[in-house]
């Protein structure tokens, strides 16, 4: 600002600066409050259910009259729930490992393959379908197709569905890391006489490693929590954790369900936090 010499203008200058500082403080306060409220909004519901899961009564009343872990014991000894947990973990591991393998192949195709650009872009678009087509449409399409071609419903269709579901996430996570690898390094290795497998193992793989581990963990979390596709493909024989919880939510809110919820959130939260520390979100 233009400063004139003189007593009065000096005082205005100070007042202006003070006012400026005051608005900056108000502005800073507004932003900080928004951030804190957002954090509370995201996590308070989880904290509330965690608190209520300690209720001694099957139907908690607020405030609780005591605290116990009996519902956690009940959940972990409930046959249906444990079977759902085991099924979800098995499907999750298969989808995570196989999905990361396929994602690696797809990422290599999109970033490095000696194929025309339009072909590589088409592969990327086809793989990205579940990202922009509403899940209910994908689920109905796969559900009807499974019924019509006689593939049927059950464990294997669910595994295939989950593998498909995690593929775009693995692909694009690995592709963004793949794109940072200098292509000349692999060409040099080849010029020095290494074959394709050796080049991949000694040059590319060590650089991709964190992305691959993050992909396995994120894909596991995705598969472990997937609900709608499973709902359309499971039929009557298979039950997964999210299906089991959904079935119980529809009946009513109970201490048992609260404990189950905390276990599920804690489990996927830990997996995702490890993955996020390996491959930060940006």
């Amino acid at each position: 600002m233009v400063t004139r010499v003189g007593d009065t203008s000096d005082r205005t200058g100070v007042a202006d600066r003070l006012r400026g500082r005051a608005t900056a403080a108000v502005r800073g306060g507004f932003f900080r409050i928004t951030v804190v409220v957002t954090a509370l909004f995201l996590y308070l519901p989880v904290v509330v259910v965690g608190y209520l899961s300690l209720s001694p009564a099957p139907q908690p009343s607020i405030p609780l009259d005591g605290a116990t872990l009996r519902w956690y014991a009940a959940v972990l000894s409930d046959a249906r729930f444990v079977r759902g947990l085991v099924t979800s973990c098995v499907i999750g591991v298969v989808a995570a490992v196989a999905g990361t393998g396929l994602g690696l192949l797809a990422a290599r195709t999109i970033v490095r393959a000696r194929l025309p650009g339009w072909l590589r872009a088409s592969v990327a678009v086809v793989i990205a379908i579940p990202l922009f087509v509403p899940t209910v449409v994908v689920a109905l399409g796969i559900g009807i197709t499974a019924g019509r071609v006689g593939l049927g419903f059950g464990f294997l269709p669910v595994v295939a569905g989950h593998l498909y579901w995690v593929l775009p996430f693995s692909t694009f996570l690995i592709a963004s890391r793949y794109a940072t690898i200098d292509g000349r390094m692999t060409e040099v290795a080849r010029d020095l006489g290494a074959d394709g497998v050796t080049t991949f193992r000694t040059v590319t793989l060590p650089q991709l490693w964190p992305a691959l581990v993050a992909s396995v963990l994120f894909a596991f979390a995705l598969s472990f929590n997937e609900f709608l596709l499973t709902f359309f493909l499971a039929g009557s024989g298979v039950t997964t954790m999210p299906l089991e919880i959904y079935g119980k939510v529809r009946i009513g809110a109970t201490s048992f369900l609260n404990a189950a919820s905390v276990l599920v959130l804690g489990f996927s939260g830990v997996v995702a936090a490890v993955a996020a520390s390996l491959e930060p979100p940006t």
């Binding site: 308070l44 393959a113 194929l115 449409v137 569905g161 498909y164 593929l167 919880i245 979100p281």
Partner: protein
């Protein structure tokens, strides 16, 4: 990207490196086959199913006559409202995170804001039952504090604000949706906000612009691509959500995915379910196409 291969119109297997191209095709085959078998084929089957038996528009005609069109309109309306709410929260939060937050807290806060992406949304929706039920935490606090005489009806109720099917979602449905989809928008907005040059904001302030002017004339033009990308990512998911309205919506707030699922599961009317899905998909894809017309937005989406 290897620039040289971009100009080849078709893969060639000739020459000294022909076999390497062959290997590339072989390696590409497995993931592509999976994506075609469970992505492209089901969408084609869906379309065929929607005009079956033979080739008939009957399933689509039924859609026009039925009570289902308002459900589609309502779903799209809920998508707009929830997406707008997510953006309204994400703008100040990501602005602070990218430009005012001390650097050492930035990543931990960003991770904690995006961690819910990987949590189970059925369970996250369920947590709101305990917040908003008549004997839930909000009503307990309000009645104990003497703010209300009797518990408020917050769970699975309508807002009562709006015209016909275009209504604001009820409190539990709205909060449940924002809770699930806010982290996606926070992440896309943060990526844009991080690239906003803060010196532009300072320059505008030094020239005397107020907060609103800075926001409208500097922040929005520099970050709208992230906002549109976030919108494209969450909008269809919200409009097409199944579990959230099942758990948190009032019976009069039915959404399109619930109808499609009922037609598939209970009524077993595959052709009608398929016709509903095709119409819903087309509406969503038109929105996507309009959004992706902008090159800025396309560049933003490619980062995903």
């Amino acid at each position: 990207m290897s620039g040289s291969t971009d100009r080849i119109p078709w893969p060639t297997f000739e020459g000294p490196d022909g076999w390497r191209t062959l290997v590339d095709v072989g390696l590409a085959a497995a993931p592509t086959a999976l994506a075609v078998a469970l992505g492209v084929v089901p969408l084609a089957v869906l379309f065929v199913e929607s005009v079956s038996p033979l080739v008939t528009p009957a399933n689509y005609a039924a859609l026009g006559e039925s009570v289902y069109l308002p459900v589609l309109v309502r779903s799209l309306g809920v998508g707009v409202v929830v997406t707008a709410a997510c953006l309204a929260v994400a703008y100040p939060v990501t602005y602070w995170l990218a430009h005012a937050c001390p650097a050492r807290y930035r990543l931990p806060i960003l991770i904690s804001f995006t961690l819910p992406l990987w949590l189970n949304y059925v369970v996250l929706n369920y947590t709101w039952v305990w917040i908003l039920a008549t004997d839930g935490i909000v009503n307990t606090v309000l009645t104990a504090g003497g703010f209300v005489d009797r518990p408020l009806d917050l769970l699975r109720t309508t807002s009562g604000v709006g015209i016909g099917p275009l209504a604001l979602p009820g409190p539990s449905l709205g909060l449940g949706f924002v809770h699930i989809y806010l982290p996606y928008v926070l992440l896309t907005m943060y990526v844009s906000m991080e690239r906003l040059d803060y010196r532009q904001v300072e320059a505008a302030r030094d020239l005397g612009a107020g907060s609103l002017r800075v926001f409208l004339d500097v922040v929005v033009p520099e970050t709208y691509a992230g906002a549109v990308a976030g919108t494209l990512i969450v909008y269809a998911r919200i409009a097409g959500a199944f579990a959230t309205p099942q758990i948190l919506a009032s019976p009069s707030e039915q959404m399109i995915a619930q109808i499609i699922t009922t037609q598939f599961y209970d009524v077993l009317d595959y052709p009608f379910a398929a016709a509903l899905s095709v119409v819903f998909l087309l509406v969503v894809l038109v929105g996507f196409g309009v959004g992706a017309l902008s090159t800025d937005v396309r560049a933003e989406l490619k980062r995903w």
